[in-house]
Symmetry: C2
Subunit: 154 residues, 2 copies
């Protein structure tokens, strides 16, 4: 691999733009959620996923799969959120090993409280900055990127 295909100008701009935007947007959202609702970004995502799940509960593994974190990271976060009363654990009746994370009413309320500010920030930093055409390009292009990485990685 002595001479790989380096990135040309266009590719380089897309790549570094993606990298920078990725870091900056994540950083900004973390900060906004923490200030506004006392939630970390991972915690917010857990709330969203549980709220969308049937019965407002998911197995730990299912939660970890869709998420950024490793399994152990999820265990940690759920423990924190359980202390805060946002979720609770329920053992799975058909499999003693299995654990459901269940959204509590307090967790649901916390999500409703945090969501408007979060959405507003998402608009401010990303969605409202892009043209409709750019939005579509992101959805399709990055959607495919995600699909491939999920396919390989998992």
């Amino acid at each position: 691999m002595a001479e790989p295909r380096w990135l040309d100008e266009r590719e380089m701009r897309a790549w570094s733009g993606f990298l920078a935007a990725s870091a900056l947007v994540n950083r900004r959202l973390d900060q906004q959620l923490k200030d506004d609702a006392g939630l970390s970004h991972p915690q917010y995502e857990i709330l969203v996923r549980l709220a969308a799940a049937p019965g407002r509960e998911l197995r730990m593994t299912e939660l970890a799969n869709g998420l950024i974190n490793s399994k152990s990271g999820l265990t940690y976060q759920v423990t924190q959120m359980e202390k805060a009363g946002l979720v609770r654990r329920r053992s799975c009746p058909s499999d003693v090993r299995g654990v459901f994370a269940v959204l509590t009413d307090a967790g649901s309320a916390k999500l409703e409280e945090a969501a408007p500010g979060h959405v507003a920030t998402v608009r401010e930093v990303l969605v409202d900055v892009l043209t409709p055409a750019q939005l579509d390009a992101l959805a399709e292009g990055l959607g495919e990127v995600g699909r491939r990485l999920r396919g390989q990685g998992a």
Copy 2:
């Protein structure tokens, strides 16, 4: 803020695609760099920026500004890399407080060793997955996103 403008379908797809791709791509690159060259992604970026700098050296603050990390995070990483012999510190002659991070020959060699595999991975997970039009949309759209966040945040 009782009723914010929620994201419509198109916006939602773009947003969640961006979020997922951002996390997955970063994860994959971290892993590839670690396995392939024993570098973390932040460390690789430090090498790149130093290699591109005049005299192969930069002030700590300049390095931190372009970078993801907080100042203290940069101090930590540079210390690690100094132990590994990839960079060294040089105090600034005109300002006693100032510190330059200088790329060593070993650091330069490490970068040349790691770069081909890194670029190949970047192509594999992102660049070669996107159409030229999507590349342009990313470059322009996310470029603007980054510019705005830099303007505000700093």
